[in-house]
Protein backbone atom coordinates (compact mmCIF):
# COMPACT_ATOMS: atom_id res chain seq x y z
CA UNK A 1 0.00 0.00 0.00
CA UNK A 2 2.75 2.45 1.05
CA UNK A 3 4.83 1.64 -2.00
CA UNK A 4 1.86 1.97 -4.35
CA UNK A 5 0.97 5.32 -2.82
CA UNK A 6 4.58 6.46 -3.21
CA UNK A 7 4.62 5.31 -6.84
CA UNK A 8 1.37 7.15 -7.53
CA UNK A 9 2.62 10.42 -6.01
CA UNK A 10 5.99 10.06 -7.74
CA UNK A 11 4.26 9.39 -11.05
CA UNK A 12 2.11 12.52 -10.77
CA UNK A 13 5.09 14.66 -9.71
CA UNK A 14 7.22 13.40 -12.57
CA UNK A 15 4.46 13.91 -15.13
CA UNK A 16 3.84 17.50 -14.00
CA UNK A 17 7.57 18.33 -13.95
CA UNK A 18 8.17 16.82 -17.39
CA UNK A 19 5.21 18.57 -19.02
CA UNK A 20 6.16 21.88 -17.39
CA UNK A 21 9.87 21.60 -18.33
CA UNK A 22 9.16 20.64 -21.94
CA UNK A 23 6.64 23.51 -22.16
CA UNK A 24 9.26 26.00 -20.96
CA UNK A 25 11.91 24.75 -23.42
CA UNK A 26 9.57 24.62 -26.40
CA UNK A 27 7.73 27.87 -25.77
CA UNK A 28 10.86 29.93 -25.06
CA UNK A 29 13.22 28.25 -27.52
CA UNK A 30 10.93 27.68 -30.49
CA UNK A 31 9.19 31.02 -30.17
CA UNK A 32 12.55 32.81 -30.18
CA UNK A 33 13.65 30.88 -33.26
CA UNK A 34 10.31 31.71 -34.91
CA UNK A 35 10.85 35.40 -34.14
CA UNK A 36 14.33 35.23 -35.70
CA UNK A 37 12.88 33.73 -38.89
CA UNK A 38 9.49 35.38 -39.29
CA UNK A 39 9.78 38.44 -37.06
CA UNK A 40 6.61 37.36 -35.23
CA UNK A 41 6.23 36.20 -31.66
CA UNK A 42 3.29 34.79 -29.72
CA UNK A 43 2.12 37.36 -27.14
CA UNK A 44 1.15 34.57 -24.73
CA UNK A 45 4.57 32.83 -24.90
CA UNK A 46 6.31 34.38 -21.87
CA UNK A 47 3.18 34.14 -19.65
CA UNK A 48 2.64 30.46 -20.49
CA UNK A 49 6.34 29.65 -19.96
CA UNK A 50 6.38 31.46 -16.61
CA UNK A 51 3.20 29.65 -15.59
CA UNK A 52 4.85 26.33 -16.44
CA UNK A 53 7.80 27.41 -14.29
CA UNK A 54 5.47 27.96 -11.33
CA UNK A 55 4.14 24.39 -11.71
CA UNK A 56 7.65 22.98 -12.20
CA UNK A 57 9.06 24.75 -9.14
CA UNK A 58 6.48 23.74 -6.54
CA UNK A 59 6.28 20.15 -7.71
CA UNK A 60 10.07 19.93 -7.79
CA UNK A 61 10.04 21.21 -4.22
CA UNK A 62 7.70 18.36 -3.23
CA UNK A 63 9.95 15.88 -5.01
CA UNK A 64 12.96 17.38 -3.20
CA UNK A 65 11.38 16.63 0.18
CA UNK A 66 11.16 12.95 -0.77
CA UNK A 67 14.83 12.79 -1.78
CA UNK A 68 16.03 14.89 1.17
CA UNK A 69 17.42 17.39 -1.31
CA UNK A 70 16.63 20.64 0.50
CA UNK A 71 19.82 22.42 1.47
CA UNK A 72 20.71 22.53 5.12
CA UNK A 73 23.69 22.99 7.40
CA UNK A 74 24.24 19.44 8.60
CA UNK A 75 27.57 19.65 10.45
CA UNK A 76 25.98 19.79 13.92
CA UNK A 77 23.07 17.49 13.20
CA UNK A 78 25.40 14.78 11.90
CA UNK A 79 27.13 14.83 15.28
CA UNK A 80 23.91 14.51 17.30
CA UNK A 81 22.90 11.27 18.96
CA UNK A 82 20.21 9.21 17.18
CA UNK A 83 17.41 10.22 19.59
CA UNK A 84 18.11 13.94 19.32
CA UNK A 85 18.50 13.69 15.55
CA UNK A 86 15.15 11.90 15.33
CA UNK A 87 13.52 14.57 17.52
CA UNK A 88 14.92 17.31 15.28
CA UNK A 89 13.66 15.51 12.17
CA UNK A 90 10.18 15.27 13.72
CA UNK A 91 10.35 18.99 14.57
CA UNK A 92 11.28 19.78 10.94
CA UNK A 93 8.28 17.80 9.72
CA UNK A 94 5.95 19.66 12.10
CA UNK A 95 7.40 22.96 10.91
CA UNK A 96 6.76 21.90 7.30
CA UNK A 97 3.15 21.07 8.21
CA UNK A 98 2.61 24.41 9.98
CA UNK A 99 4.05 26.47 7.15
CA UNK A 100 2.36 24.34 4.53
CA UNK A 101 -1.03 24.87 6.15
CA UNK A 102 -0.57 28.66 6.16
CA UNK A 103 0.67 28.74 2.56
CA UNK A 104 -2.08 26.47 1.23
CA UNK A 105 -4.77 28.59 2.91
CA UNK A 106 -3.41 31.96 1.76
CA UNK A 107 -2.52 30.81 -1.77
CA UNK A 108 -6.00 29.34 -2.16
CA UNK A 109 -7.33 32.85 -1.46
CA UNK A 110 -5.25 34.07 -4.42
CA UNK A 111 -6.75 31.37 -6.66
CA UNK A 112 -10.26 32.39 -5.63
CA UNK A 113 -9.45 36.01 -6.31
CA UNK A 114 -8.17 35.17 -9.81
CA UNK A 115 -11.34 33.18 -10.45
CA UNK A 116 -13.66 35.88 -9.11
CA UNK A 117 -12.24 38.46 -11.51
CA UNK A 118 -12.20 35.91 -14.35
CA UNK A 119 -8.59 36.83 -15.17
CA UNK A 120 -7.14 35.23 -18.34
CA UNK A 121 -3.56 34.79 -19.54
CA UNK A 122 -2.93 37.56 -22.11
CA UNK A 123 -3.73 36.36 -25.63
CA UNK A 124 -5.37 33.10 -24.52
CA UNK A 125 -8.53 31.73 -22.94
CA UNK A 126 -6.49 30.06 -20.17
CA UNK A 127 -7.58 31.35 -16.74
CA UNK A 128 -4.82 32.84 -14.55
CA UNK A 129 -6.10 30.55 -11.79
CA UNK A 130 -4.73 27.60 -13.79
CA UNK A 131 -1.28 28.93 -12.87
CA UNK A 132 -1.88 30.22 -9.36
CA UNK A 133 -3.49 26.91 -8.31
CA UNK A 134 -0.05 25.31 -8.74
CA UNK A 135 0.97 26.82 -5.38
CA UNK A 136 -1.64 25.12 -3.13
CA UNK A 137 -1.48 21.88 -5.14
CA UNK A 138 2.35 21.83 -5.10
CA UNK A 139 2.35 22.50 -1.35
CA UNK A 140 -0.32 19.81 -0.94
CA UNK A 141 2.03 17.32 -2.55
CA UNK A 142 4.82 18.62 -0.34
CA UNK A 143 2.65 17.88 2.70
CA UNK A 144 2.14 14.30 1.46
CA UNK A 145 5.91 13.94 1.12
CA UNK A 146 6.45 15.39 4.59
CA UNK A 147 3.89 12.93 5.99
CA UNK A 148 5.82 10.06 4.36
CA UNK A 149 9.04 11.43 5.81
CA UNK A 150 7.47 11.70 9.28
CA UNK A 151 6.38 8.06 9.14
CA UNK A 152 9.92 7.06 8.10
CA UNK A 153 11.46 9.11 10.90
CA UNK A 154 9.10 7.71 13.54
CA UNK A 155 9.90 4.18 12.37
CA UNK A 156 13.55 5.00 12.92
CA UNK A 157 14.47 4.69 9.24
CA UNK A 158 17.33 6.80 7.95
CA UNK A 159 16.18 9.93 6.18
CA UNK A 160 17.25 10.11 2.53
CA UNK A 161 20.32 12.20 1.89
CA UNK A 162 21.20 14.41 -1.02
CA UNK A 163 23.74 12.77 -3.29
CA UNK A 164 26.16 14.55 -5.55
CA UNK A 165 24.20 13.36 -8.56
CA UNK A 166 21.14 15.18 -7.21
CA UNK A 167 22.88 18.53 -7.36
CA UNK A 168 23.17 20.15 -10.75
Amino acid sequence: MGQRFDDLISGIEKAVMLVAYVTIILVVGLDTIRRMITGEQAPWGPEVAMGAFVWLSWFAMASGVRTGAHLSFTTLRDRMGPRLRQAMAVFDCLLWFGLGLVIIVVSWDVVELNQRFNQKIFGTEIPVAAISIAVPIGWGFTMLRVAQQLVRVLRGETAPHLTAEDIR
Binding site: L18, I24, V28, G29, A60, A69, L71, F73, I167, R168
Partner: protein
Protein backbone atom coordinates in the same frame (compact mmCIF):
# COMPACT_ATOMS: atom_id res chain seq x y z
CA UNK B 1 -9.87 28.88 8.86
CA UNK B 2 -13.28 29.80 10.21
CA UNK B 3 -13.97 32.92 12.24
CA UNK B 4 -14.71 30.84 15.35
CA UNK B 5 -11.37 29.06 15.12
CA UNK B 6 -9.64 32.42 14.74
CA UNK B 7 -11.43 33.73 17.86
CA UNK B 8 -10.20 30.70 19.80
CA UNK B 9 -6.66 31.30 18.58
CA UNK B 10 -6.76 35.04 19.30
CA UNK B 11 -5.46 34.89 22.90
CA UNK B 12 -2.55 32.71 21.74
CA UNK B 13 -1.76 35.12 18.89
CA UNK B 14 -1.96 38.09 21.28
CA UNK B 15 0.34 36.35 23.74
CA UNK B 16 2.83 35.52 20.98
CA UNK B 17 2.72 39.15 19.79
CA UNK B 18 3.66 40.21 23.31
CA UNK B 19 6.51 37.76 23.83
CA UNK B 20 8.00 37.66 20.35
CA UNK B 21 10.14 40.42 18.94
CA UNK B 22 12.32 40.51 15.85
CA UNK B 23 15.41 39.48 17.82
CA UNK B 24 13.81 36.40 19.35
CA UNK B 25 12.42 35.31 15.97
CA UNK B 26 15.79 35.91 14.33
CA UNK B 27 17.58 34.09 17.17
CA UNK B 28 15.29 31.07 16.81
CA UNK B 29 15.81 31.09 13.03
CA UNK B 30 19.61 31.19 13.40
CA UNK B 31 19.49 28.38 15.97
CA UNK B 32 17.32 26.27 13.66
CA UNK B 33 19.74 26.86 10.79
CA UNK B 34 22.70 25.63 12.83
CA UNK B 35 20.68 22.67 14.11
CA UNK B 36 20.22 21.49 10.53
CA UNK B 37 16.68 22.58 9.65
CA UNK B 38 16.45 23.10 5.86
CA UNK B 39 17.30 26.68 4.86
CA UNK B 40 13.99 27.08 3.04
CA UNK B 41 12.08 26.23 6.23
CA UNK B 42 14.17 28.61 8.32
CA UNK B 43 13.61 31.45 5.87
CA UNK B 44 9.88 30.74 5.44
CA UNK B 45 9.37 30.52 9.22
CA UNK B 46 11.14 33.84 9.76
CA UNK B 47 9.06 35.51 7.02
CA UNK B 48 5.70 34.19 8.22
CA UNK B 49 6.40 34.75 11.93
CA UNK B 50 7.74 38.27 11.39
CA UNK B 51 4.95 39.18 8.96
CA UNK B 52 2.25 38.04 11.34
CA UNK B 53 3.57 38.88 14.78
CA UNK B 54 5.84 41.88 14.21
CA UNK B 55 4.90 43.99 11.20
CA UNK B 56 1.33 42.66 10.96
CA UNK B 57 1.46 42.20 7.20
CA UNK B 58 -1.51 40.30 5.72
CA UNK B 59 -0.37 36.70 5.21
CA UNK B 60 -1.98 36.76 1.77
CA UNK B 61 1.24 38.47 0.65
CA UNK B 62 2.95 35.10 1.08
CA UNK B 63 0.39 33.47 -1.22
CA UNK B 64 0.75 36.22 -3.82
CA UNK B 65 4.57 36.12 -3.70
CA UNK B 66 4.58 32.31 -3.99
CA UNK B 67 3.14 32.84 -7.45
CA UNK B 68 4.29 36.27 -8.60
CA UNK B 69 7.96 36.07 -7.50
CA UNK B 70 8.47 33.11 -9.83
CA UNK B 71 6.83 34.81 -12.79
CA UNK B 72 9.96 36.63 -13.90
CA UNK B 73 11.05 36.06 -17.49
CA UNK B 74 14.74 36.49 -16.64
CA UNK B 75 14.45 33.91 -13.84
CA UNK B 76 13.19 31.45 -16.44
CA UNK B 77 16.76 31.27 -17.81
CA UNK B 78 17.84 29.25 -14.76
CA UNK B 79 16.18 25.92 -15.66
CA UNK B 80 17.05 26.45 -19.31
CA UNK B 81 20.79 26.90 -18.71
CA UNK B 82 20.81 23.95 -16.32
CA UNK B 83 19.22 21.60 -18.86
CA UNK B 84 21.62 22.93 -21.51
CA UNK B 85 24.56 21.79 -19.36
CA UNK B 86 23.02 18.36 -18.90
CA UNK B 87 22.31 17.88 -22.62
CA UNK B 88 25.89 18.99 -23.28
CA UNK B 89 27.37 16.33 -21.06
CA UNK B 90 25.02 13.47 -21.90
CA UNK B 91 25.25 14.28 -25.61
CA UNK B 92 29.03 13.83 -25.54
CA UNK B 93 29.87 17.46 -26.31
CA UNK B 94 31.64 17.95 -22.96
CA UNK B 95 34.10 15.16 -23.77
CA UNK B 96 34.95 16.87 -27.06
CA UNK B 97 35.55 20.17 -25.29
CA UNK B 98 37.87 18.34 -22.89
CA UNK B 99 39.81 16.83 -25.81
CA UNK B 100 40.22 20.32 -27.26
CA UNK B 101 41.39 21.69 -23.91
CA UNK B 102 43.92 18.88 -23.62
CA UNK B 103 45.32 19.66 -27.06
CA UNK B 104 46.01 23.23 -25.91
CA UNK B 105 47.51 22.71 -22.44
CA UNK B 106 48.58 19.05 -22.67
CA UNK B 107 52.26 20.03 -22.92
CA UNK B 108 52.28 21.77 -19.53
CA UNK B 109 53.39 20.27 -16.23
CA UNK B 110 50.25 19.11 -14.43
CA UNK B 111 48.55 18.75 -17.81
CA UNK B 112 45.47 16.87 -16.61
CA UNK B 113 44.70 19.41 -13.89
CA UNK B 114 45.32 22.26 -16.36
CA UNK B 115 43.03 20.53 -18.88
CA UNK B 116 40.35 20.33 -16.19
CA UNK B 117 40.61 24.08 -15.59
CA UNK B 118 40.34 25.01 -19.29
CA UNK B 119 37.46 22.55 -19.70
CA UNK B 120 35.70 24.10 -16.71
CA UNK B 121 35.97 27.49 -18.43
CA UNK B 122 34.54 26.16 -21.72
CA UNK B 123 31.76 24.19 -20.02
CA UNK B 124 30.89 27.22 -17.91
CA UNK B 125 30.49 29.29 -21.08
CA UNK B 126 27.53 27.13 -22.07
CA UNK B 127 26.04 25.93 -18.79
CA UNK B 128 25.32 28.38 -15.99
CA UNK B 129 25.87 26.28 -12.92
CA UNK B 130 28.98 25.83 -10.81
CA UNK B 131 27.79 22.53 -9.35
CA UNK B 132 27.07 21.15 -12.84
CA UNK B 133 30.56 22.23 -13.93
CA UNK B 134 32.21 20.59 -10.91
CA UNK B 135 30.11 17.41 -11.20
CA UNK B 136 30.81 17.02 -14.94
CA UNK B 137 34.53 17.65 -14.71
CA UNK B 138 34.80 15.54 -11.58
CA UNK B 139 33.22 12.62 -13.40
CA UNK B 140 35.19 13.05 -16.62
CA UNK B 141 38.63 14.11 -15.38
CA UNK B 142 38.84 13.41 -11.64
CA UNK B 143 39.68 9.69 -11.89
CA UNK B 144 42.33 10.42 -14.54
CA UNK B 145 44.03 12.98 -12.29
CA UNK B 146 44.23 10.39 -9.52
CA UNK B 147 45.60 7.79 -11.97
CA UNK B 148 48.35 10.24 -12.95
CA UNK B 149 49.47 10.40 -9.34
CA UNK B 150 47.66 13.47 -8.01
CA UNK B 151 46.53 12.83 -4.41
CA UNK B 152 42.75 12.22 -4.36
CA UNK B 153 42.08 15.10 -1.94
CA UNK B 154 44.05 17.52 -4.09
CA UNK B 155 42.37 16.27 -7.30
CA UNK B 156 38.99 16.86 -5.67
CA UNK B 157 40.01 20.31 -4.46
CA UNK B 158 41.26 21.33 -7.93
CA UNK B 159 38.05 20.19 -9.64
CA UNK B 160 35.91 21.91 -6.96
CA UNK B 161 37.85 25.16 -7.44
CA UNK B 162 37.50 24.85 -11.24
CA UNK B 163 33.74 24.60 -10.81
CA UNK B 164 33.62 28.10 -9.34
CA UNK B 165 34.25 29.66 -12.74
CA UNK B 166 30.85 28.28 -13.76
CA UNK B 167 29.33 31.18 -11.87
CA UNK B 168 31.54 33.98 -13.22
CA UNK B 169 31.90 33.07 -16.87
CA UNK B 170 28.57 33.93 -18.48
CA UNK B 171 25.92 32.64 -18.64
CA UNK B 172 25.57 32.30 -14.89
CA UNK B 173 22.65 31.24 -12.72
CA UNK B 174 23.93 33.31 -9.78
CA UNK B 175 24.33 36.45 -11.93
CA UNK B 176 20.74 35.96 -13.07
CA UNK B 177 19.51 35.65 -9.49
CA UNK B 178 21.60 38.65 -8.39
CA UNK B 179 20.24 40.67 -11.32
CA UNK B 180 16.62 39.77 -10.53
CA UNK B 181 17.10 40.51 -6.83
CA UNK B 182 19.06 43.75 -7.16
CA UNK B 183 17.44 45.08 -10.33
CA UNK B 184 20.77 45.18 -12.18
CA UNK B 185 20.62 44.15 -15.88
CA UNK B 186 21.74 40.52 -16.10
CA UNK B 187 23.27 41.15 -19.52
CA UNK B 188 25.55 43.81 -18.00
CA UNK B 189 26.55 41.40 -15.25
CA UNK B 190 27.28 38.71 -17.84
CA UNK B 191 29.48 41.08 -19.83
CA UNK B 192 31.10 42.37 -16.62
CA UNK B 193 31.98 38.81 -15.61
CA UNK B 194 33.83 37.92 -18.82
CA UNK B 195 37.30 39.31 -18.01
CA UNK B 196 37.23 38.39 -14.29
CA UNK B 197 36.13 34.87 -15.31
CA UNK B 198 39.01 34.56 -17.78
CA UNK B 199 41.45 35.77 -15.08
CA UNK B 200 40.04 33.20 -12.65
CA UNK B 201 40.63 30.42 -15.19
CA UNK B 202 44.23 31.58 -15.75
CA UNK B 203 44.91 31.83 -12.02
CA UNK B 204 43.50 28.33 -11.49
CA UNK B 205 45.57 26.92 -14.37
CA UNK B 206 48.69 28.43 -12.76
CA UNK B 207 47.72 26.95 -9.38
CA UNK B 208 46.99 23.54 -10.93
CA UNK B 209 50.35 23.52 -12.72
CA UNK B 210 52.13 24.58 -9.52
CA UNK B 211 50.41 21.96 -7.37
CA UNK B 212 50.52 18.95 -9.72
CA UNK B 213 53.51 19.71 -11.95
CA UNK B 214 55.81 17.47 -9.93
CA UNK B 215 53.70 14.32 -10.25
CA UNK B 216 52.90 14.97 -13.90
CA UNK B 217 55.94 16.66 -15.47
CA UNK B 218 55.54 18.70 -18.66
CA UNK B 219 56.50 17.30 -22.05
CA UNK B 220 57.72 20.58 -23.49
CA UNK B 221 56.49 23.20 -25.91
CA UNK B 222 57.71 21.27 -28.93
CA UNK B 223 54.91 18.78 -28.33
CA UNK B 224 52.27 21.37 -29.14
CA UNK B 225 50.67 20.19 -32.38
CA UNK B 226 48.66 22.89 -34.15
CA UNK B 227 47.09 20.22 -36.37
CA UNK B 228 45.83 18.35 -33.30
CA UNK B 229 44.46 21.57 -31.82
CA UNK B 230 42.61 22.30 -35.06
CA UNK B 231 41.27 18.74 -35.34
CA UNK B 232 40.02 18.56 -31.74
CA UNK B 233 38.61 22.06 -32.10
CA UNK B 234 36.76 20.98 -35.25
CA UNK B 235 35.41 17.91 -33.41
CA UNK B 236 34.11 20.17 -30.65
CA UNK B 237 32.33 22.45 -33.15
CA UNK B 238 28.96 21.86 -31.52
CA UNK B 239 30.20 23.31 -28.23
CA UNK B 240 31.74 26.35 -29.90
CA UNK B 241 28.55 27.07 -31.84
CA UNK B 242 26.64 27.00 -28.52
CA UNK B 243 29.15 29.38 -26.94
CA UNK B 244 28.92 31.66 -30.00
CA UNK B 245 25.11 31.70 -29.96
CA UNK B 246 25.02 32.62 -26.28
CA UNK B 247 27.81 35.21 -26.25
CA UNK B 248 27.16 36.92 -29.56
CA UNK B 249 23.38 36.60 -29.34
CA UNK B 250 23.26 38.29 -25.96
CA UNK B 251 26.12 40.74 -26.58
CA UNK B 252 24.72 41.98 -29.90
CA UNK B 253 21.21 42.14 -28.53
CA UNK B 254 19.58 39.42 -30.67
CA UNK B 255 18.40 37.54 -27.59
CA UNK B 256 17.69 38.16 -23.96
CA UNK B 257 19.57 35.69 -21.68
CA UNK B 258 16.37 33.65 -21.28
CA UNK B 259 15.80 33.46 -25.04
CA UNK B 260 19.44 32.51 -25.63
CA UNK B 261 19.07 29.77 -23.01
CA UNK B 262 15.93 28.44 -24.74
CA UNK B 263 17.55 28.41 -28.17
CA UNK B 264 20.75 26.78 -26.92
CA UNK B 265 18.81 24.17 -24.91
CA UNK B 266 17.01 23.09 -28.11
CA UNK B 267 20.27 23.24 -30.08
CA UNK B 268 22.14 21.08 -27.51
CA UNK B 269 19.25 18.61 -27.47
CA UNK B 270 19.39 18.28 -31.28
CA UNK B 271 23.18 17.95 -31.60
CA UNK B 272 23.21 15.69 -28.54
CA UNK B 273 20.63 13.26 -29.93
CA UNK B 274 21.32 13.16 -33.68
CA UNK B 275 24.00 10.49 -34.29
CA UNK B 276 24.85 12.06 -37.66
CA UNK B 277 25.99 15.17 -35.76
CA UNK B 278 28.01 13.08 -33.29
CA UNK B 279 25.28 12.98 -30.62
CA UNK B 280 25.42 10.19 -28.05
CA UNK B 281 22.20 10.95 -26.21
CA UNK B 282 19.38 8.40 -26.45
CA UNK B 283 15.82 9.71 -26.46
CA UNK B 284 14.84 7.35 -23.64
CA UNK B 285 17.42 9.12 -21.41
CA UNK B 286 15.79 12.52 -21.91
CA UNK B 287 13.00 12.27 -19.27
CA UNK B 288 15.54 11.25 -16.62
CA UNK B 289 17.80 14.16 -17.54
CA UNK B 290 14.89 16.62 -17.41
CA UNK B 291 13.79 15.34 -14.00
CA UNK B 292 17.32 15.56 -12.66
CA UNK B 293 17.63 19.15 -13.86
CA UNK B 294 14.17 19.97 -12.47
CA UNK B 295 15.40 19.22 -8.96
CA UNK B 296 17.46 22.38 -8.97
CA UNK B 297 14.32 24.44 -9.54
CA UNK B 298 12.79 22.72 -6.52
CA UNK B 299 15.75 23.75 -4.39
CA UNK B 300 16.32 27.27 -5.67
CA UNK B 301 12.89 28.69 -6.41
CA UNK B 302 11.33 28.34 -2.92
CA UNK B 303 14.50 29.94 -1.50
CA UNK B 304 14.19 32.86 -3.91
CA UNK B 305 10.47 33.27 -3.17
CA UNK B 306 10.97 33.48 0.60
CA UNK B 307 14.12 35.58 0.29
CA UNK B 308 12.24 38.21 -1.69
CA UNK B 309 9.66 38.30 1.11
CA UNK B 310 12.47 38.40 3.67
CA UNK B 311 13.69 41.58 1.97
CA UNK B 312 10.19 43.10 2.02
CA UNK B 313 9.54 42.33 5.67
CA UNK B 314 13.02 43.34 6.81
CA UNK B 315 12.70 46.60 4.83
CA UNK B 316 9.49 47.44 6.70
CA UNK B 317 11.34 46.75 9.97
CA UNK B 318 14.20 49.02 8.89
CA UNK B 319 16.74 46.19 9.26
CA UNK B 320 18.77 46.92 6.11
CA UNK B 321 18.89 50.61 7.01
CA UNK B 322 20.26 49.79 10.46
CA UNK B 323 23.02 47.58 9.02
CA UNK B 324 23.69 50.08 6.24
CA UNK B 325 23.95 52.87 8.79
CA UNK B 326 26.42 50.84 10.82
CA UNK B 327 28.51 50.06 7.74
CA UNK B 328 28.39 53.66 6.51
CA UNK B 329 29.58 54.85 9.92
CA UNK B 330 32.38 52.32 9.67
CA UNK B 331 33.28 53.81 6.28
CA UNK B 332 33.30 57.36 7.65
CA UNK B 333 35.53 56.38 10.59
CA UNK B 334 37.98 54.01 8.95
CA UNK B 335 37.78 54.85 5.25
CA UNK B 336 36.07 53.24 2.28
CA UNK B 337 38.77 50.60 1.81
CA UNK B 338 38.07 49.27 5.31
CA UNK B 339 34.34 49.34 4.61
CA UNK B 340 34.74 47.34 1.39
CA UNK B 341 37.05 44.89 3.20
CA UNK B 342 34.45 44.38 5.94
CA UNK B 343 31.71 43.82 3.33
CA UNK B 344 33.93 41.28 1.53
CA UNK B 345 34.63 39.49 4.82
CA UNK B 346 30.89 39.38 5.47
CA UNK B 347 30.26 37.79 2.05
CA UNK B 348 33.02 35.26 2.67
CA UNK B 349 31.88 34.43 6.20
CA UNK B 350 28.23 33.96 5.24
CA UNK B 351 29.25 32.07 2.08
CA UNK B 352 31.31 29.68 4.20
CA UNK B 353 28.32 28.60 6.23
CA UNK B 354 25.49 28.66 3.76
CA UNK B 355 24.41 28.21 0.17
CA UNK B 356 25.41 30.90 -2.32
CA UNK B 357 21.88 31.68 -3.49
CA UNK B 358 20.99 32.45 0.11
CA UNK B 359 24.06 34.72 0.35
CA UNK B 360 22.93 36.65 -2.72
CA UNK B 361 19.35 36.92 -1.55
CA UNK B 362 20.09 37.86 2.05
CA UNK B 363 23.26 39.96 1.82
CA UNK B 364 22.78 41.40 -1.68
CA UNK B 365 20.00 43.84 -0.76
CA UNK B 366 21.83 44.88 2.42
CA UNK B 367 25.28 45.49 0.94
CA UNK B 368 24.24 46.73 -2.52
CA UNK B 369 22.93 50.13 -1.34
CA UNK B 370 26.02 50.63 0.87
CA UNK B 371 28.30 50.00 -2.12
CA UNK B 372 26.13 52.36 -4.16
CA UNK B 373 26.36 55.06 -1.49
CA UNK B 374 30.15 55.12 -1.70
CA UNK B 375 30.07 55.36 -5.49
CA UNK B 376 30.81 51.77 -6.54
CA UNK B 377 29.20 50.98 -9.89
CA UNK B 378 26.30 48.50 -9.42
CA UNK B 379 27.66 46.18 -12.12
CA UNK B 380 31.17 46.27 -10.65
CA UNK B 381 29.79 45.57 -7.17
CA UNK B 382 27.60 42.79 -8.61
CA UNK B 383 30.69 41.11 -10.09
CA UNK B 384 32.68 41.59 -6.85
CA UNK B 385 29.77 40.21 -4.83
CA UNK B 386 29.29 37.16 -7.05
CA UNK B 387 33.03 36.39 -7.22
CA UNK B 388 32.96 36.42 -3.41
CA UNK B 389 30.02 34.06 -3.28
CA UNK B 390 31.76 31.66 -5.69
CA UNK B 391 34.65 31.42 -3.23
CA UNK B 392 32.00 30.33 -0.74
CA UNK B 393 31.40 27.30 -2.97
CA UNK B 394 34.74 25.88 -1.84
CA UNK B 395 35.02 27.42 1.62
CA UNK B 396 34.41 24.97 4.48
CA UNK B 397 32.35 24.09 6.38
CA UNK B 398 29.61 24.57 3.74
CA UNK B 399 31.20 24.35 0.30
CA UNK B 400 28.68 23.03 -2.20
CA UNK B 401 31.34 22.17 -4.79
CA UNK B 402 33.38 20.28 -2.18
CA UNK B 403 30.31 18.24 -1.39
CA UNK B 404 29.56 17.59 -5.07
CA UNK B 405 33.12 16.53 -5.89
CA UNK B 406 33.37 14.41 -2.75
CA UNK B 407 30.29 12.49 -3.92
CA UNK B 408 31.29 12.22 -7.58
CA UNK B 409 34.86 11.04 -6.87
CA UNK B 410 34.05 9.06 -3.73
CA UNK B 411 36.67 11.01 -1.77
CA UNK B 412 36.26 11.84 1.91
CA UNK B 413 35.06 15.43 2.44
CA UNK B 414 37.78 16.05 5.04
CA UNK B 415 40.52 15.02 2.60
CA UNK B 416 39.34 17.65 0.11
CA UNK B 417 39.01 20.34 2.79
CA UNK B 418 42.64 19.82 3.83
CA UNK B 419 43.80 20.58 0.27
CA UNK B 420 41.34 23.25 -0.78
CA UNK B 421 43.06 26.10 1.05
CA UNK B 422 45.85 25.94 -1.56
CA UNK B 423 43.24 26.79 -4.20
CA UNK B 424 41.56 29.46 -2.10
CA UNK B 425 44.67 31.66 -2.20
CA UNK B 426 44.71 32.30 -5.98
CA UNK B 427 40.94 32.84 -5.96
CA UNK B 428 41.25 35.36 -3.12
CA UNK B 429 43.98 37.15 -5.08
CA UNK B 430 41.71 37.36 -8.14
CA UNK B 431 38.86 38.62 -5.95
CA UNK B 432 41.06 41.37 -4.53
CA UNK B 433 42.19 42.31 -8.04
CA UNK B 434 38.63 42.43 -9.41
CA UNK B 435 37.59 44.59 -6.45
CA UNK B 436 40.53 46.98 -6.72
CA UNK B 437 40.32 47.39 -10.51
CA UNK B 438 36.75 48.25 -11.61
CA UNK B 439 38.02 48.52 -15.19
CA UNK B 440 38.16 44.71 -15.40
CA UNK B 441 34.40 44.47 -14.89
CA UNK B 442 33.35 47.60 -16.75
CA UNK B 443 35.62 47.93 -19.79
CA UNK B 444 33.49 45.71 -22.05
CA UNK B 445 30.39 47.70 -21.12
CA UNK B 446 31.81 50.98 -22.37
CA UNK B 447 30.34 51.91 -25.73
Amino acid sequence: MSGEELTLLEPLVEWLREVLDVWSITGIAIALFFLGTPVVLVLASWVIASSYFIVEFPLMNVGIAANDSIKSFIFLAVPLFVITGDFLTEGGISRKLIAFSRSIVGFMPGATAATAMVSCGLFAAISGSNAATAATMGRLLGPEMVERGVRPGLAGAIIAAGGTVGVIIPPSVIFLIYGVTMDVPSVDLFVGGMIPGAIMVMALIAAAVWLTGKVEPGIGLRHIKPRQILCSGAHAWAGFVAIGVIFLGIYWGYFSPTEAAGVVAIYCFIVGTVPFLGGQLKLRQVPGILLNSARLAGLLVPLVVFSIQFQQVSSVMGLPEAIQEFLSELGSNFGYAALVAVMMLLILAVGAITESVAVVLILGPILGPVADSIGIDPVHWGVVFVVGTTIGFITPPYGLNLFVVSGVLGINYDQIIRQVFKLLLPLMAVWALVTAVPWLSLVLLED
